[in-house]
Symmetry: C2
Subunit: 205 residues, 2 copies
Amino acid sequence: MRIEESFKCDRPIGAAVTPFSTDNSPPGNDSSGDTVSLDDLLAPPLNFSMVDYGVYRSGFPDYANFPFLRTLGLRSIIYLCPEPYPVANAEFLKANGIRLFQFGIEGSKEPFVNIPEDSIREALEVVLDEKNRPLLIHCKRGKHRTGCLVGCLRKLQKWCLTSIFDEYQRYAADKARVSDQRFIELFDVSSLKELSTPVAISKCQ
Amino acid sequence: MRIEESFKCDRPIGAAVTPFSTDNSPPGNDSSGDTVSLDDLLAPPLNFSMVDYGVYRSGFPDYANFPFLRTLGLRSIIYLCPEPYPVANAEFLKANGIRLFQFGIEGSKEPFVNIPEDSIREALEVVLDEKNRPLLIHCKRGKHRTGCLVGCLRKLQKWCLTSIFDEYQRYAADKARVSDQRFIELFDVSSLKELSTPVAISKCQ
């Protein structure tokens, strides 16, 4: 693992691989008149966003997203589905020294829903471990399983439920589930508090 | 301005003021059994999210959001509306050494839309200036004016338009405007490239 190189705790998103001040690419299809080629453009995974310093979330990344993911200098990926990781994605992780943490949570549908609290708790422990950051949390669409994990992280960060659900719903959109939000509301974070020190500050002070 | 104190370039969101490992608050209304009181809970502004390291976005913050905003150690706020800043918000900024950058962009509606490119460009220059971070970008609801500014930032970061619009639409939801997305598509970032160096990395290396 390229620990030192990968841990850019505050690398601007998308800026690392293609510094703007050194763009020598030929004119492309950009109607703004800016000189940029399609090859230079970066495509974040579906539903991608920053969650916290060194913590990102998204839907399932595919080949088109790999150049963007390289700019994040990821150290780990938390994969929340039971299906085996695709070969192309596994090769990308190997080539970039990224560790995979898989928690096989079934993509259940309401009204039959069973979110395994133990898996979310173990995944949250991975998120809270400084050694694993920068990391990307993803499931299939970045809505339900990822939303539950991020919601529990927000609860640990003492966000009020109104704000936690507002964030959950922004990513789940018309697929938002009351059962997921109820899971977050009932999730007990007290046993995790000793793990949740302000992780990355030590990297900058 | 409390420069040194305010510039925590990777302070975990919501964790700075209330470290989880020192929670001595009495039991509250948390159904999870976790010991937390309503007074301890933090309420981010509407539509709040991290955009990049030291860059946040949201709707209009009010008094209830001030405790959360304190945890961000903001150095600046970029306010994109023409209306005078409310007294309570102005006092919060003064008390916390936060500088206000106001760009009076009218909240125009389609089909009559006129987004001032110069204002967005000047606001983007403020975002790109390391001295102003950490900063919060906000308008009224964090959808259109804020969405245009963030969209132009993403263009500068070489995100493809598909991803830029996907992000814009996540915050604008059913209020998404084709005119805003067209503005982002046509916005010429070439003159800003020399300003967009990977700002915060120097803080961590």
